[in-house]
């Protein structure tokens, strides 16, 4: 039988666990409860705040029946998923190269990955506008090379959004992948080679499965914020690309419909709950198995 922890231990534990809990309660759970409550209210333009708490599910019914919103959700999930795959395809080789580099060079390479964080996210995305616009640097280059007539404008296309997400979220993919690859025991790869596995086979059967926790963590760290992303589609995307973050912004600031905006936010959170729960289960299985 496990001994009951003595009171001082329990106090100490509470003192350590308490503050972060209080923080989450105060700044995440409480605001979310307010948003959830508002989502069951009605728009009241003359009131301040412009909400009448009527306890209706009308907002949800409206969102789920209106094709615009459903499309916005679906296209957000699609864009986030494609962008996540692209980020993984670019981030994995990067993380692999850093993990395999000489130990003395790894901190510098990691530093380079994190370096963009020193500049504001908003400014960096704005800078991409300059690069991608009709008369921007990239088009100028394409024209100078004169490959295929008019290159068209990248800015405003869905590709610009992918580019923005891949660019902005790459560090979130590289870091967990690096953490997983860096702790991979090299003697496992030698053992695989010793048993007759060519490098590519050894990668597929040893490196890749053992870095899977990093792949999952990286993908979620990119996918979850990308679904709700507002700045990138707003600044780089075109008017025809619907993303739920933008819809939310419009409902809140342009239409001043707080209850509907809140319902959009709640549904987005619910949609993201599925991958988060999946991740937690995978992690639990990993720890439970050992």
């Amino acid at each position: 039988m496990a001994a009951r922890p003595s009171d001082p231990t329990r106090l100490a534990r509470a003192a350590i666990v308490g503050p972060p809990f209080a923080w989450l309660l105060l700044f995440f759970l409480a605001p979310f409860a307010i948003v959830a409550a508002i989502s069951f209210g009605q728009n009241a333009p003359d009131a301040a705040p412009p909400v009448a708490m009527t306890g209706t599910a009308r907002n949800y019914a409206f969102l789920l029946s209106d094709a615009l919103y459903v499309d916005a959700y679906l296209s957000s999930l699609r864009i986030a998923a494609i962008a996540t795959v692209l980020t993984l395809l670019i981030g994995y080789p990067m993380a692999y190269a850093i993990a395999m580099a000489a130990p003395s060079r790894r901190p510098i390479l990691l530093m380079l990955v994190i370096l963009p964080f020193w500049t504001s996210f908003l400014i960096r995305i704005y800078a991409w506008r300059g690069l991608l616009s009709e008369h921007g640097l990239i088009n100028a280059l394409l024209r100078a090379m004169d490959i295929s007539g008019d290159p068209g404008t990248i800015l405003g296309s869905e590709w610009a959004i992918y580019l923005g997400i891949v660019y902005a979220y790459l560090p979130f993919m590289v870091l967990p992948l690096y953490a997983a690859l860096e702790k991979l025991d090299r003697s496992l790869l030698e053992a695989a080679a010793d048993l007759g596995a060519r490098p590519w086979r050894a990668f597929l059967s040893i490196t890749l499965p053992l870095s899977l926790p990093g792949v999952i963590a990286g993908c979620l760290l990119v996918f979850i914020p990308a679904v709700g992303e507002f700045v990138i589609p707003d600044l780089l995307g075109g008017t025809e690309t619907l993303m739920i973050g933008k819809v939310l912004w419009d409902e809140f600031f342009t239409n001043s419909d707080w209850p509907l905006a809140s319902a959009v936010a709640v549904l987005m959170l619910l949609a993201l709950l599925a991958p988060i729960a999946l991740y937690q289960r995978l992690r639990a299985r990993e720890f439970g198995g050992s």
Partner: protein, 361 residues
């Protein structure tokens, strides 16, 4: 080329060298081992044992030299094309695979049919008595069980040569002793030649048919355990392999003049170096007999004063001062009927001519 009918050597290493930057890990090593032989590479930590083994496995490229397995040159082959398998010191079991999949991994790479893989995996696991735990994962096994899985994985492909890097290092002493015997028994049954790296002299002696004592990247002496113990060639080997009293003297036929001891030591062989050269004489402590009176008919005898007696359980070591600054160690067994010399007693030491080993360098 030698006799065409002679079976090819299991392994033949010719002039192997390897430097890491300025450090010479292996310096000009050559040796052969026949089929079914068991070679132990024995030496202090850092003397190049692992590097030598890793060159044979293909993980390090030698700077110069060739490696031949059963007559064919494998020096330039990548590890995955060599007919050798290695058991890693850390075992290097794949943590995400069951025991059965770990053992079957090498067969899958070879493209062996599934039914055949299952049969051979089971057979290999039977051999190491791990068949019941085939579905476990490595982290659900004890150290000894992991070691046996690693062994099964290394033999399942029936390599022409098995390489073992300190295979017992992670086991406790009792288990280590039992595993030594099991490993040799298994090797006999399979008939695979093996090279085992160890820094443990008992392990080398009890498991190997040949021992290579390594010293700073070179092989100081290669021979059967008996030869190396009875006839070490150098001071280094005599001192490293077992323990030895080493006296300095001057060769004179089958005698070694030893002024420090005040006698001419009789030996049964002349020094290679020739008369007049400075040589060493090694005498194993357990080959020295102690007596209170001058022994009759002994080849060599000298008197000293008991300085200390250290009790080791299975034997005691008697430190006898022969002359100022010259102390010899003699082992006495601890049976209760044996007389026990006391501190300060005068005592005679005697040893046979064949137990006085002349050392060249």
């Amino acid at each position: 080329m030698t006799d065409a009918a002679a079976p090819p050597l299991a392994l033949s290493v010719v002039g192997l060298r390897k430097k890491f930057g300025d450090v010479t890990a292996v310096a000009d090593v050559s040796f052969d081992i026949g089929r079914g032989e068991r070679l132990a590479l024995l030496g202090e930590s850092g003397c190049g044992k692992t590097t030598l083994l890793r060159m044979i496995a293909g993980f390090e490229r030698p700077d110069t030299g060739r490696i031949l397995v059963e007559g064919s040159d494998i020096t330039d082959l990548p590890p995955y094309e060599r007919p050798v398998n290695m058991m890693f010191q850390s075992y290097a079991l794949f943590p995400h695979m069951t025991v059965a999949r770990n053992v079957g991994f090498g067969l899958v790479q070879e493209g062996v049919a599934r039914a055949e893989i299952e049969r051979r995996v089971e057979e290999a696991l039977e051999l190491v008595r791990m068949a019941e735990l085939a579905e476990r994962r490595p982290d659900q096994l004890s150290g000894g069980q992991r070691q046996r899985v690693a062994l099964a994985r290394a033999i399942v492909k029936r390599p022409k040569l098995l390489l073992l890097d300190e295979p017992m290092a992670a086991l406790d002493r009792k288990l280590r002793e039992r595993t030594r015997l099991e490993l040799v028994e298994l090797q006999r049954r399979l008939g695979i030649a093996f090279v085992i790296v160890t820094h443990d002299q008992d392990e080398a002696m009890s498991m190997a048919s040949k021992v290579a004592v390594m010293d700073r990247g070179t092989i100081a002496q290669l021979g059967t355990p008996t030869t190396i113990y009875e006839r070490p060639r150098s001071r280094f080997v005599a001192d490293f392999f077992g323990s030895a009293n080493i006296l300095e003297g001057e060769a004179a036929g089958r005698l070694v003049r030893c002024p420090a001891l005040g006698i001419d030591i009789k030996t049964d062989h002349a020094a290679d170096a020739g008369d007049g050269r400075r040589v060493g004489v090694a005498i194993r402590p357990e080959r020295i007999a102690l007596s209170t009176h001058r022994p009759e008919g002994a080849d060599n005898a000298a008197m000293g004063v008991v300085q200390a007696l250290s009790y080791l359980g299975d034997r005691s070591i008697c430190h006898v001062e022969m002359a100022p600054g010259l102390t010899l160690r003699a082992a006495i067994d601890t049976r209760h009927d044996q007389p026990r010399p006391g501190h300060g007693d005068n005592i005679w030491l005697a040893w046979a001519a064949r137990d006085a080993i002349v050392l060249g360098d």
